[in-house]
């Protein structure tokens, strides 16, 4: 079920009514959350519900076993089993085709016959997100940083909480589980904040990202029409993916806020970053933190000397790239950011001598990130090559003027609001505006969403991850 669909609005209206009726019973509320979340997920394909339920039940049991006093060897075994099961499911559904195709391509180059078979595997929506969420729970218990959940119902509600089920923010157990175990208070301020987040998120998705989608297709999904079109396309995609993904995260947080829950912030004005480290502290924060806590630190982080630190950093981002999708372009994107972060780290350690002024640091960081998006968006290495070659051709297609105007008009509201948020250093700055200004802005957002509602119905980009 897509947030930007009429069926979701009907679903959520019915859910709100039932939620109100369940206000006197914590158990009833959690049953409702689990049932609604399964309906929300099963709406796409009910057959994949079993994966979600299996993964949830398995990790709940693993958590209970890890919570009992046991020998370290046993604990490692339980953790290993949980990792094996979760990563096998993820690997099979997400990476089977990629590895088989890559092997076939390798064997073909060696002129060795290799039969790939005909197994076509559908990627279950959100599997990367709920698998990481579930894994973090088991690892935290293993590290004695989290008590195991005592109720399967609450744990299932945590794993399948529908506002953030399919595209995050990836919640840690210590953030969401306690909220599922206590009485929540819904205040007027929370309703106001939730409303703003939902409206702004919907606007970013429906009015900005979805309107940029055809521009991006024009640049990427046809024979490249020259360097200027590729650059404009990269810019369009930078704002499309931001509007799409941060829009989803804002809607998720806003819906949860209206229900009395608090979800972690996932984006904090990332395109204002002055260096790559800052960018990754502001972009997809829940994934960056996950990779840092469970991958980078597990590999030794910066504790094993400078050389190893750079290797760990690079490897973390390489795997982070692969997490996004089973394609070499994502691996390249991860490598691009891993290398960039390595250079940033090296540079910053010598900052006393080479500090960059903001007017150099900001465009350099933005250009680096936007270049990375070209790697991310390319459908294949061949297409990437074609885009690279197109950069050498500076001819301008007939539609380029319209392209630039359309891009500028579509992105302008996003830039305007974000400059405001940046000046106040607060993503919720519009809530602090005078009532008339806040009302006028929200009125415009409502009309903007309504104007473009279900016009294109582009699925959220991160659903495919």
């Amino acid at each position: 079920m897509l947030f930007n669909s009429s069926v979701f609005l009907q679903f959520f209206a019915a859910f709100l009514l039932l939620y109100f009726l369940c206000r006197r019973s914590l158990t009833a509320r959690n049953v409702l959350i689990v049932a609604a979340s399964w309906l929300f997920y099963g709406w796409w394909d009910y057959r994949f519900l079993f994966l979600l339920i299996f993964s949830g039940c398995f990790d709940f049991c693993a958590g209970l076993l890890l919570g009992r006093p046991r020998a370290p060897g046993r604990r490692r075994l339980i953790l290993g089993l949980s990792l094996l099961v979760n990563l096998s499911l993820l690997g099979f559904f997400k990476y089977y085709g990629f590895f088989v195709d890559s092997l076939a391509s390798l064997f073909a180059q060696l002129h060795v016959p290799f039969h790939t078979g005909t197994l076509k595997i559908v990627l279950p929506v959100g599997i990367s997100f709920y698998t990481f969420q579930s894994l973090s729970y088991v690892i935290d218990i293993y590290r004695c940083q989290q008590q195991p959940a005592r109720s399967l119902l609450r744990y299932l509600a945590y794993v399948s909480f529908f506002p953030q089920l399919v595209a995050g923010p990836i919640q840690r157990a210590h953030e969401l589980l306690p909220q599922l175990e206590r009485t929540l208070t819904i205040t007027s301020a929370m309703v106001g904040e939730g409303l703003w987040l939902v409206l702004w998120g919907m606007f970013k998705k429906v009015a900005i990202a979805d309107n940029l989608a055809p521009l991006v297709e024009l640049s990427f999904d046809r024979t490249p029409a020259g360097g200027p079109a590729v650059i404009a396309g990269a810019l369009a995609f930078a704002f499309q993916i931001y509007g799409d993904f941060s829009g989803y995260s804002d809607i998720a947080r806003g819906l949860a806020c209206g229900l009395g829950f608090e979800l972690r912030e996932n984006f904090r004005l990332p395109y204002f970053s002055l260096d790559l480290r800052e960018f990754w502290r502001r972009w997809h924060i829940s994934l960056s933190a996950w990779l840092r806590d469970y991958l980078y630190i597990s590999m030794g982080g910066s504790r094993k000397g400078p050389g190893r630190t750079y290797v760990n950093l690079f490897a973390t981002f390489l795997l982070g790239g692969l997490w996004h999708g089973a394609a070499w372009t994502f691996v390249l994107w991860g490598a691009w950011h891993g290398a960039g972060l390595g250079v940033t780290r090296w540079w910053q350690q010598r900052r006393g001598r080479f500090a960059l002024p903001p007017w150099v640091a900001w465009p350099a960081t933005f250009a680096f990130v936007v270049t990375g998006w070209v790697l991310f968006r390319a459908r294949s290495l061949d297409q990437l090559g074609a885009l690279g070659r197109a950069l050498l051709d500076w001819s301008v297609p007939a539609w380029f003027g319209n392209y630039v105007l359309c891009l500028a008009l579509t992105v302008a509201p996003l830039v305007a609001v974000e400059v405001w948020q940046r000046k106040r250093d607060d993503p919720l700055a519009p809530l602090a505006a005078p009532a008339w200004a806040r009302g006028a802005l929200q009125g415009v957002l409502v009309l903007g969403v309504l104007l473009f509602w279900e016009k294109k119905s582009v699925p959220f980009i991160y659903f495919q991850f």
């Binding site: 369940c22 929540l184 819904i186 105007l405 009532a435 009302g439 415009v444």
Partner: protein, 330 residues
């Protein structure tokens, strides 16, 4: 244990709801007032391929745009002939204009376009060529939506978005006014192959301007089993529309009618003879001065963009054949 409790202040909630509703209502009123007082530009809802073509052809028909040879018909007329090429072939002596649109506009819609054109360009047209795909003669009825669109355009009214609940809410809030008068004048990327070929609504508009109303279908035709055959016949339900269209021919203008070709692989055995009979049958209602019987009934598959449209190469060849069939003096 309680699940949750609400600590909602009525005043705060009223402020929130009012804060959103009041600006929405104010903006809706401003949009309507702007449209009523003529502060907003006239509607030009060129928001996708179909609406860009319809709006363009309707606007051309409404303006002084003198042409000696006027083409009118469905999307085959729009895509299968190159009006500018035809004009150039006559050394510019027979100015041509293509007002081809879509099958769903129907003969009644073509008649509306033609009447508007004749009123805006009195006494100029010497030849009117009506060209449609044989599929249209099966009895395709005009779509009320398309006819409404055309009639709203000519009466400068704002055409509603659609009849869904969302469309009705949008209409109440005046969003169709914004869409038709503001958004339609801004660059809107076109979808699919048309987007890849033309880019934006404005580029398609410019192309139609430059090509005297003709467009190119950018698709590639690949014959597929089970897509049907050219089993066309003349539907009696078309007669009133055809007579209405025939009556709209400006006095003194010569009327020629023709049928578009189909891909060779699509045509059953004996199709050219059936095509001729179809044309002759249609002519009984249209009473033309000339029947374009020498036009090809079938053409090679590689000249097609779809079962009903020629591609650019096919259109150039077809225009050449049309040139000879029309027998205009250079």
């Amino acid at each position: 244990m309680k699940s949750h409790e609400y600590q909602l202040s009525d005043v705060a909630l009223r402020q929130w709801a009012g804060g959103i509703l009041v600006p929405v209502v104010v903006l809706a009123v401003l949009l309507r007032a702007g449209a009523l007082m003529g502060l907003l530009p006239a509607p030009r809802p060129a928001l996708d391929v179909e609406r860009t073509v319809l709006t363009h052809q309707a606007a051309i028909a409404q303006a002084p745009n003198p042409a000696d040879v006027l083409f009118i018909g469905d999307s085959s007329c729009l895509m299968d002939l190159r009006a500018r090429l035809l004009e150039a072939s006559y050394g510019g002596k027979h100015r041509s204009q293509n007002l081809g649109t879509f099958m769903y506009l129907g003969m009644e819609g073509y008649a509306t376009l033609l009447r508007n054109y004749a009123a805006s360009n009195p006494g100029r047209v010497k030849t009117v060529v009506i060209l449609v795909h044989p599929q249209m003669l099966r009895g395709a009825q005009p779509s009320a939506e398309y006819l409404g669109f055309l009639s709203d355009f000519y009466s400068k009214a704002d055409h509603p978005l659609d009849t869904s609940i969302k469309g009705q809410v949008s209409a109440v809030l005046g969003l169709h006014i914004f869409e038709g008068r503001v958004l339609g004048r801004l660059p809107v990327p076109l979808a699919g192959e048309f987007g890849r070929y033309y880019g934006f609504n404005r580029n398609l508009w410019d192309h139609l301007d430059q090509q005297r109303g003709s467009a190119i279908d950018p698709h590639s035709y690949k014959p597929a089993p089970g897509e049907g055959t050219a089993d066309y016949r003349l539907a009696l339900s078309l007669e009133p529309g055809c007579r209405d269209l025939a009556a709209a021919i400006p006095p003194g203008a010569r009327l020629a009618i023709g049928l578009a070709p189909v891909p060779r692989s699509f045509a059953p055995p004996g199709y050219p003879a059936r095509w001729q009979r179809l044309l002759a049958g249609w002519a009984e209602w249209m009473r033309p001065d000339a029947l374009l019987t020498t036009l090809p009934a079938v053409m090679a598959d590689d000249r097609f963009a779809s079962p009903t449209h020629l591609n650019e190469k096919g259109a150039i060849e077809y225009t050449d054949q049309l040139l000879r069939a029309l027998e205009l003096r250079p």
